[in-house]
Amino acid sequence: MIPLIIYVVIFVVAFFVVTKVVQGAGLRDYTSLKTVTFGDESAVRPNRAAGVISILTIFLMWGIFTGSSLLPGFLHAPGPYEGTTTFTYTAQVEGQAPDDATVTVVVHPREVDTDAPEVDPGDGFARNDSAAIAQWRTGLINVARNDDISKADGNKVIAINGQKIAPGETVEVEGGAVTLSDKGTPNFEPTRGWQMEPLYLPSPEAVWVRSIEIAKEGFRNFTLLEHLGYSLFRVVVGFFFGALVGIPLGYAMGLSDWFRGWFDPIVEFMRPVPPLALIPLVIIWAGIGEAGKIILLFLAALWIMAIAARSGVSGVKISKVHAAYSLGASKWQIMRHVIVPNSLPEIFTGARVAMGVCWGTVVAAELVAAEQGAGMMIMTASKFQNTDIVIMGIILIGVIGFGIDMLMRWAERLLVPWKGKG
C-alpha cells in the first residue's frame, strides 16, 4: 500500500512540475498550438520527460525499498532492526515472589554469523538470558532453560518489561516484539521495517554485481553469453524454418482453391493452440534437446507466417493484378513483380509477431527443461533462491525481446518503405 501511495505521489508531482513549470517555457511546435487535443489521437505523443522520470522512478522505488547504497540514506524506507536490544521478563513460581531477569538479543544480518553474547546470570531464581536472531527471522528464547526452577516445576513467564502477558499475546519492546507461545516461551521477532528482504527483492546494485559476476564466471557451466546465445539461436533457427515453410504455404493458400481448402482447417485449428501447450508433446516426441525446442519454435512461427503470407496475397488490389495483365505480364511475372512485393508488408508484420511469440515460447520451453538458455538460467536460479539472478535474467530477456522488435521494425522501414502507402 505504502509503495503504491509513494508511486502515485511521484506521478502526480512529476506531472505538475514538468507540464506546468518546465514545459511552460519549452518547445513550441504545431501540435502545441492545437486547442483541441482531448480526443485528437494524433496530438497525443509520449512525453519524453515522463518516460525518463518513469524509468528513474522504478529504480528509485526499487532502491527505497531495498535500502540501496545508490541512494542517500535518508531516502531509504525504514530498514530492519539491527543491533543489541534487551527486554526483561518476569517469572513466577507458585509460593515464591516473582523474579525479573533480562534477555539480551543480538539482531544481525543474515549473512553474518553471530553467537549469542555472554551475559552475567544475575540474581534470583530467574537468570539473565541471551540470544542471536537474524534479521527477518524470529527466535524462540527458552528463558527458563538456565533458571533455578525449571518450566516443569511451574516456572511461568507472566510479564515482559513489566507488562502482563499470557500465551498468544504480544508486547512491543525496543527493536521488535515479544509473543508468548502456547507453551509459554517468549518468541522474539525483530522489527522488519518497510524494506524488502534481499531473498525476495535484492537491491539494484546487488543485481548489477551479480550480473557482472555471472558475465565473468558464467552460470552452470555456460557463460552468460552462451545462455542468451542459445536462446537466440533457437529462436532464429525455429523462425527461419517456420518462415521457410509458412510463407510458401500461405502463398499457395492465397492462390489455389485446392491448397486453401486442404490447409485451411489445419491452419485455423493450429493457430489458436498456444505453442506452450505443445511443449509436453514435443518433449515426448523429440526429447528436451535442441531438436525439440526448434520443432516447437518452428510450429510457433509456421502458422503465423502462413496466415500473414495468405492475407498478404488476399490483400492485393485486383486493379493492380488487372493492370499487370493488361501490361502483358505472365502469371509468373505477376507473382514475382506484383504479388510478392505487395504481400511483403504483411509478411513483415507477421514476422514481427512470430519473432515475439518465438522469444516468449523459447523462454517458457527452457523453463520446463533445458541444459542452457535464458529460461533455464532463471528457473535454476529460482530453485536456489538466487533472486538476483532471476531478476537479472528477466531484465535481459526483456531487453533482448525489445531489441528483436526494434531490429524488425528497422528492417521493415528499410526493406518495405511502401508499407501502408498502397
Binding site: 499487370a324 501490361l327 505480364a329 511475372q333 506484383v338 518495405v416 518503405p417
Partner: protein, 268 residues
C-alpha cells in the same frame, strides 16, 4: 481490317439465390482505329462490365469481340487499361512503373529507357523519375498511369473513370492531356466517366447506356473533342451546341435514375 467490333455482346450474372442480373443485353458497337468513345450512364448500366469484357477480364455469356481481325479471349498488352486509382505499383519508382510493360516483354534496356524518358517528357514528370509513386499527388499518379499504359504501345486504351478522383482544376488539365495524347498517338480510346461534361469534351463519339438490362440507349457524334485538341477546354464549353447537348443528356440520365428509384419503391 483494323478497329474493334463488339458484336451482340450479352452478359448475365447468375446469383446464388437463383436470380440473375442481365448486366448487358445485345450490345453492338464498331470502333474504327483512332476513335475516341466516351461511355455514360447511370450506375448499374453495365459500363464497367463492358470495359472489363473488352479488356478481357470477363468472358461474355453471348456475343464476341473482334480486335484487328482476331477474337479477344483474355487480357493482352494490345489493350491497355487506366484505372481510377490505386493500380500503380507502390514498390516501384515512377520510372519503373512506366517501364513495367517493356520490362515484362524483355525489351532491351536502351530502348526501354528511351521510351520511358520520352513518355515522362510527354506527361511532364521528367523531374519525378526516381520518386516513389506514393510521394506524388493524385493528378501526377494518373499521369504515371497514362504513361505506363502508353509505354506498351497498345492498340486500344481503356479508361475506367481515370479522372474521377481528381479535383476540378487537375481534372481539367488532365482532360487536355488526354486529348493531346489521343491526337499525338492516334490510339483508339474507350473512356468511361460519370461526368457528362467530360464525356462531351473528350468523346468524339459518345454512347449513353441504360440499365436493366444494360444496353446502348443513344449514340452521338460530337465535334468538341476535335476542337479541344487546339483550344482551351473552357472555350469549347462556350460552343453554342455544348450547353443544349449537356442538358439533353443530363435529363436523359436523370430520367433513367428516376425510373430506377421508382422501380425500387414499387418493389418495396
Amino acid at each position: 481490317m483494323t478497329g474493334l467490333s463488339i458484336n451482340n455482346l450479352s452478359m448475365r450474372f447468375d446469383l446464388p439465390n437463383g436470380d440473375h442480373v442481365q448486366a448487358l443485353q445485345d450490345v453492338s458497337l464498331d470502333l474504327k482505329a483512332g476513335e475516341l468513345l466516351s461511355v455514360l450512364g447511370p450506375s448499374g448500366c453495365g459500363k464497367t462490365t463492358l470495359l472489363n469484357i473488352v479488356a478481357g477480364f470477363l468472358a461474355p455469356t453471348a456475343g464476341e469481340l473482334i480486335l484487328n481481325g482476331h477474337k479477344v479471349t483474355g487480357p493482352d498488352a494490345e489493350r491497355g487499361m487506366v484505372f481510377q486509382q490505386g493500380a500503380l505499383f507502390e514498390w516501384m519508382s515512377v520510372r519503373e512503373n512506366v517501364g513495367f510493360g517493356p520490362s515484362m516483354k524483355g525489351t532491351p534496356k536502351k530502348d526501354k529507357d528511351e521510351t520511358v524518358n520520352h513518355l515522362l517528357d510527354v506527361v511532364g514528370l521528367q523531374d519525378f523519375k526516381e520518386k516513389a509513386v506514393y510521394e506524388l499527388s493524385g493528378g501526377m499518379q494518373q499521369r504515371v498511369a497514362l504513361a505506363r499504359c502508353l509505354a506498351n504501345d497498345p492498340d486500344v486504351i481503356l479508361m475506367d473513370e481515370p479522372l474521377g478522383a481528381l479535383d476540378a482544376l487537375t481534372r481539367e488539365k488532365m482532360q487536355s492531356l488526354v486529348l493531346k495524347l489521343w491526337k499525338e498517338t492516334g490510339k483508339t480510346i474507350i473512356l468511361i466517366t460519370h461526368s457528362v461534361e467530360e464525356a462531351l469534351l473528350l468523346g468524339e463519339r459518345l454512347i449513353v447506356m441504360a440499365p436493366r438490362p444494360g444496353r446502348i440507349h443513344k449514340e452521338y457524334r460530337l465535334p468538341f473533342a476535335d476542337l479541344g485538341v487546339d483550344a482551351d477546354l473552357r472555350e469549347v464549353k462556350k460552343h453554342p451546341e455544348f450547353g443544349p447537348r449537356r442538358e439533353e443528356i443530363l435529363n436523359m440520365i436523370w430520367d433513367m435514375e428516376e425510373e430506377i428509384m421508382g422501380g425500387k419503391e414499387d418493389a418495396a
